[in-house]
């Protein structure tokens, strides 16, 4: 498990001892996704379909951009209710690559704040929403 941040991009990787076919639904099935992130989920896994994770205090909302089982899924990520922060600004891309019988997960989140506070208000506030999730 590693993570790298480059500018406004974070890349996280994980090795899972199950094939991509098994891992993929954990990004598209509401009952499975909450096993690892969020408390409740509303997911419509098709391009343009809703991607909504309820963390209790915070809701992350976006939409699926690409759904290509079992290898790749892309969705946007934002916090509704904050007009500086419309859902859909930053983008999460997940690529599942087979490694023998296992899967290497590479998750790339684009739209992070740089080391200094940028002038791009939406991107910055959006990340704060995520941080509330992690802190909560």
């Amino acid at each position: 498990m590693t993570a790298r941040i480059h500018g406004d991009v974070i890349v996280a990787t994980e090795h899972i001892t199950a094939p991509p076919e098994v891992v993929f639904p954990y990004f598209t099935d509401p009952a499975l996704i909450v096993a690892w992130i969020g408390e409740h989920a509303e997911l419509d896994p098709q391009p343009g379909g809703v991607f909504c994770l309820d963390f209790g205090q915070v809701i992350a909302r976006g939409h699926y951009v690409a759904v290509e089982p079992p290898r790749r899924v892309v969705f946007t990520w934002g916090i509704p209710g904050d007009d500086t922060l419309p859902p859909g600004g930053s983008t999460v891309e997940v690529v599942l690559t087979p490694a023998g019988d296992d899967t290497v997960v590479v998750l790339t989140h684009r739209g992070l704040p740089p080391t200094h506070i940028g002038d791009h208000r939406a991107g910055w506030d959006k990340q704060l929403g995520q941080l509330r999730d992690t802190a909560g």
Partner: protein, 120 residues
């Protein structure tokens, strides 16, 4: 220590303190104003539909979180963003997805245990 010396929380400030300081839109706007330049409190206050006192409170909280550097120039106090104070936030961010993926790994491997005997 000299009187000018402000408290420098520096590395001891927790991500929580930084996040709380950042949780307010006015405070974020203050940081944007001073991210590339130094400004006196009065000029900062002039940009907000708030009382001087309210703005001073925001500035105080940002200082406490280590997000603002204060420099005295005669009778004026000049404020600027202390960029390195944002590092804990970046560190926190850098943990969010790895932590989530670790939970994913655990969830998948628990639900789909693989027999140990497997050899290529």
């Amino acid at each position: 220590m000299p009187e000018q010396k402000q408290p420098m929380p520096a590395a001891s400030v927790s991500p929580d303190a930084v996040l709380r300081a950042l949780a307010d839109p006015h405070r974020r706007e203050i940081l944007r104003l001073v991210q590339h330049t130094e400004l006196p409190a009065g000029q900062i206050a002039a940009r907000f539909p708030l009382t001087q006192q309210a703005v001073s409170q925001h500035i105080g909280m940002l200082k406490q979180a280590g997000l603002l550097t204060e420099r005295r120039d005669g009778t004026r106090r000049l404020y600027s963003l202390r960029h390195e104070a944002l590092q804990p936030v970046r560190d926190l961010l850098s943990e969010f997805w790895p932590d989530a993926l670790a939970r994913l790994k655990n969830a998948v491997e628990t639900a789909h245990p693989r027999p140990q005997k497997r050899q290529p």
